[in-house]
């Protein structure tokens, strides 16, 4: 009989299965965010290599393949061999880069296709990795073979580069890459997400078409002045800029021109945020619940750190990790900075309008500018030119004292008059009929 008391040493296999690993890793991330991760790597290469001159990232996507190439300096041999392909890279954190977890590139590759070719030359060494996922998945070894040559292949005038080509696209990806709407939305996302870099020394092309930078401007004129504060919180530099920007004409929705826009290490993370995440919760100590009367408010936040792990980011960089102590502090700062302007907007509409319904009616008509700004055009300045400024509330135009008249009439007759006047709101009906009386009776406005 075997001796059951005897203890024998054995091992349990706890190696992760690659297939499960790939499945989990690629499941909750969108293809667009994956492509953005690859762009982040190129931008990081620019930052890590301390480049100052104009560089370029070119993305080409078709039904047969994906290709991203940058001339942002290339990847150093040791870094490529030991870190770049590891799931969870140990990245040196001493520059304001965008990569944090060291999974973005791998996740993107695996999400998009089955065969990946990475070529890079940093001016010291040329390396080429041929990563066939379908083959790699079949063996337990997690290593990926790659080729190098003794030195660099670059001529004196050529710049260090990295090129990732992905072939054998997954069927769903093939279909997506053929969609005009996907390409347009990718361009639009790149346009605003990397606006800071596009306005400087990095250009991005998608299928040979240049992505134009989105201009981040701040309203700054005699009537409206922005507030800007800067503060260091636990190794993170936070800059909050808030301003009010009433626009004449229809209250059209324009990209990035409502609510909060939040950047982490200069990459846009949240755009047009109007939810509880940025304080619009209506709870005590926070901002009121978002309403169309706050469309004139804009807030821009820059959260920067040389140690990107301190930034309150989620893994796909598509949102903020609200549960971090640092974001709690940042949010407090945002609310404090925005408060006077948000209160001003609440008061402004309270005074002039009687009910929320009426405000909504006038929002649709675009009559939101209650303080007529004369004929002067609003002025804007670039965000870099803005110095630190304390809050100053929008100046009330000195004008004639105004008052409100209210009365009610039967709806049917009001509609008739409205049609007759070709007016679109009750407010206009009131004003026009009043003006008619002035004219008929010859009452002068002096």
């Amino acid at each position: 009989m075997p001796n059951t008391e005897e203890k024998q040493y054995d091992e349990i296999n706890a190696m992760p299965r690659k297939a499960l690993f790939i499945d989990i890793l690629t499941r909750d991330v969108s293809v667009r965010d994956c492509i953005l991760d690859l762009v982040d790597n190129s931008v990081d290469s620019y930052i890590r290599n301390n480049l100052q001159d104009q560089r370029c990232i070119r993305i080409n996507l078709t039904e047969t393949g994906f290709d991203i190439v940058d001339d942002c300096g290339g990847i150093e041999y040791g870094f490529l061999k030991n870190e770049v392909f590891r799931f969870g890279a140990n990245i040196k954190r001493n520059k304001p880069t965008l990569g944090i977890y060291g999974i973005g590139m791998k996740r993107a590759m695996l999400k998009i296709g089955g065969n990946i070719i990475l070529e890079t030359d940093d001016g010291i060494k040329y390396c080429k990795v041929n990563f066939n996922v379908d083959e790699w998945i079949t063996h337990e070894n997690w290593k990926i073979p790659f080729r190098t040559v003794a030195g660099s292949k670059l001529s004196k005038t050529e710049k260090g580069y990295t090129r990732i080509r992905i072939q054998n696209l997954h069927p769903q990806i093939q279909k997506k890459f053929a969609l005009v709407s996907f390409l347009n939305s990718l361009r639009e996302t790149l346009h605003i997400t990397y606006s800071y870099f596009l306005n400087r020394k990095i250009s991005i092309f998608v299928n040979t078409q240049k992505v134009e930078p989105y201009k981040i401007e701040v309203r700054y004129d005699d009537d409206y002045k922005p507030v800007k504060i800067k503060k260091e919180l636990d190794g993170v530099l936070v800059e909050v800029i808030c301003f009010v920007d009433p626009r004449k004409g229809r209250a059209k929705k324009e990209l990035g021109k409502r609510g909060w826009n939040i950047f982490c290490n200069k990459r846009l993370i949240l755009k047009e945020e109007q939810s509880e995440t940025t304080g619009w919760s209506g709870e005590k100590g926070q901002l009121p619940k978002y309403h169309s009367i706050y469309h004139e408010f804009r807030g821009i936040v820059f959260i920067d750190s040389d140690d990107p792990s301190r930034l309150p980011l989620n893994t796909s960089k598509s949102g903020l990790d609200k549960e971090t102590p640092i974001y709690y502090q940042i949010l407090k700062l945002m609310v404090k900075t925005a408060r006077p302007l948000v209160d001003y907007l609440s008061r402004k509409y309270d005074k002039a309008k009687e009910s929320i319904d009426e405000i909504e009616e006038s929002m649709e008509e675009g009559e939101i500018s209650l303080e007529k700004n004369g004929e002067e055009k609003p002025k804007y300045i670039s965000i870099e030119d803005l110095r630190i400024r304390r809050v100053s509330l929008p100046r009330r135009k000195k004008g004639k004292e105004i008052t409100t008249i209210t009365y009610t009439r039967e709806k049917k007759i009001v509609e008739k008059v409205k049609q007759y006047l070709k007016a679109t709101s009750n407010r206009t009906v009131g004003e026009e009929t009043f003006n008619y009386f002035l004219e008929m009776e010859g009452i002068e406005d002096d």
């Binding site: 279909k175 969609l179 005009v180 709407s181 390409l183 347009n184 078409q209 059209k252 929705k253």
Partner: protein, 329 residues
């Protein structure tokens, strides 16, 4: 009582006097007849916006022998729509197209012709979404829209609403002109359909598109849903099938009966004559000059004055050209 706002094209224009629209109908019927044997239409349901004239329904029944037919309209003159049905098996449903598409069970195969008499707008995209979510392989969809631009100042608004679906090559103000607007609409509609079909295993395959102007400029797109374009290698009986981006312009001159009959009875001869004249005027590099010369030469063998362009246009469509008569009933 009919509400003022409900007055639509059928009340301001007698459908009989829209010759180009009638030509389009006949061409489309011919293409539909030609879909077989790849698609057998026998059990298809025809869904259209028959108005009070039901012209498309009459043609569909006569030439495709379909009996399951549904006409949709949301106006309040229900009895009038029902009264005017040319066949009692046409089912009239008093709903907006969007409401109908939401409620329809989509079990049978369909030929769906949404002949809007409204301008291209977001509501059309809502209908397209419902179609692409519910349609099956083999379903035929045709949409007709008014392709008119009010002012070129509307371009930013158009871009804001539909920009995501405009291909970069068309994302330019120069396409926002009355002449080019059908191309822009076609681009948006096809890209929108494809985006909506991203997670399905079928695609939309264009078969034809037309533009014409009886009163307002109209644009029609027709195609079929399926995994692959099963018609790619098919030989068509008429030359109006177009898988690519080209939009065929249906344009015909106004002719008197005598003129029409004259040309019809000399059609072979005139075709030969045109061929000959074209061959003999190749030396003219100036198109206008050449046209003048060709008209002059052509008029030598006709009994009345008619421009070379008009006769060419007529010859392209003579088989479909409608004839209107006044009669006492």
């Amino acid at each position: 009582m009919i509400k003022e706002s409900e007055k639509r094209s059928f009340e301001s224009v007698n459908y009989m006097f829209r010759p180009k629209k009638q030509i389009e109908r006949k061409i489309i019927i011919e293409i539909l007849q030609n879909l077989s044997p790849e698609i057998k239409l026998n059990d298809y349901i025809y869904i259209g916006l028959g108005s009070i004239y039901y012209y498309d329904f009459i043609l569909i029944h006569k030439f495709l022998n379909l009996k399951k037919m549904i006409s949709i309209d949301d106006k309040s003159t229900v009895r009038r729509f029902i009264f005017n049905r040319p066949y009692d098996y046409i089912k009239f449903i008093n709903k907006k197209s969007t409401e109908f598409l939401q409620a329809f069970n989509w079990k049978a195969s369909v030929i769906l012709w949404l002949d809007y008499d409204s301008k291209f707008d977001v509501i059309v995209l809502d209908d397209l979404s419902l179609i692409s979510q519910n349609c099956s392989s083999g379903d035929v969809v045709i949409i007709t829209l008014e392709a008119r631009i009010h002012t070129k100042e509307d371009w930013p608004e158009f871009k804001r609403k539909f920009g995501t679906y405009v291909s970069p090559k068309y994302n330019k103000q120069k396409y926002f002109t009355p002449k080019n607007f059908p191309i822009l609409i076609q681009n948006v509609v096809i890209n929108y359909l494809n985006a909506d079909l991203e997670y399905r295993d079928i695609n939309f395959h264009k078969i034809f598109s037309f533009k014409y102007k009886d009163t307002a400029q109209m644009y029609t797109l027709g195609g079929v849903f399926g995994k692959e374009n099963i018609f790619k290698c098919k030989k068509w009986k008429n030359g109006f099938v177009e898988f690519g981006e080209k939009i065929i312009d249906i344009d015909v001159p106004n002719l008197t009966y005598r003129e029409k009959f004259y040309i019809d009875s000399h059609i072979k001869k005139l075709k030969q004559e045109i061929e000959e004249i074209e061959k003999n005027t190749r030396q003219y590099s100036d198109y206008r000059k050449r046209e003048q010369v060709m008209t002059k030469k052509l008029n030598k063998c006709t009994k009345f004055e008619i421009s070379y362009n008009d006769i060419k246009k007529y010859i392209s469509y003579y088989r479909y050209y409608p004839q209107y008569y006044e009669g006492l009933i």
